[in-house]
Amino acid sequence: MVMVAEHAAETDARNRFAEEAIGYLDTLYRGALRLTRDPAQAEDLVQDTYVRALRYQSSYQVGTNMKAWLFAIMRNLFWDRFKGGRPEDVSLDGDGEFALYDTLKDPTAMPEADVLDRIAADEVVRAVEKLPELHREVVLLVDVEGFSYKDAAEVLGVPIGTVMSRLHRARRQLQRSLHEYAEESGIVHAREEGA
């Protein structure tokens, strides 16, 4: 009888875990789609993420951030499977932590806020997908999923300063891509040479 009760409790716990985990399916799938840029690969990545989550269920502490835990699994799988290993090269972070003032003091290089409203959603997704993976994943975690810097840093296994510098560079590049698109599509007029 005791064993039956224990078994029932285990099944209950597993079902609760599974129910909570599957609640993040849509959000994980969207993240996988942005990372892989391919629906078939996104499905594989999500499925493998859940299989691994189930296998390592015991390492998940009930009451902690399951979404962050699942994203960490998925992100590591992505690098292992699709990119041949987790990134250690931080060369993208390049020139020191913060050169904000230098990079922002040329506001003419950016689209104005109201121009953004006229850019098609597809184009925004394309601009995000064009970012280098190390930058793209930070944008996904912080801007799309609303993770704090601290949670994003834990998912990515990097210091908070690295999250901030990657995020900053990613946003600069997004602004540049969207500004180019706005010029090409005539939403804003390109500045004339020498003007």
């Binding site: 079902n15 599974a18 985990a21 599957i22 399916l25 849509d26 959000t27 994980l28 799938y29 969207r30 789609l33 942005r34 629906p39 499905e43 999500v46 499925q47 859940y50 299989v51 189930l54 913060f98 904000l100 003032y101 922002l104 003091k105 506001p107 950016m110 689209p111 104005e112 806020a113 953004l116 409203d117 850019i119 959603a121 597809d122 925004v124 997704v125 995000v128 944008v139 996904l140 912080v142 801007d143 799309v144 609303g146 704090s148 810097y149 901030m164 995020l167 900053h168 946003r171 997004l174 602004q175 969207l178």
Partner: protein
């Protein structure tokens, strides 16, 4: 707070990562500095746009069914 300090805090301001004191300093600067405020509006709109555009779509039904079989 000068423009340089403000811009260095802008990402954290947009991402709500500042302390209350830092936040009110940035807020005060933005109220008095239209160029910095323009950059702030641009950043906050870009963040919102990325969220709205990338947060659409659902997982395919067959994937959901397959996962339910694996998980339960």
């Amino acid at each position: 707070m000068n423009c340089r300090d403000c811009l260095e805090n802008l990402d954290r301001y947009v991402d709500r990562e500042l302390t209350d004191d830092e936040l009110s300093e940035v807020k005060r600067h933005l109220a008095d500095c239209p160029p910095c405020d323009d950059l702030y509006l641009l950043q906050v709109n870009l963040k919102r746009l990325v969220k709205v555009c990338c947060d659409q779509g659902e997982a395919p039904q067959h994937l959901r069914s397959k996962l339910r079989q694996i998980l339960f």
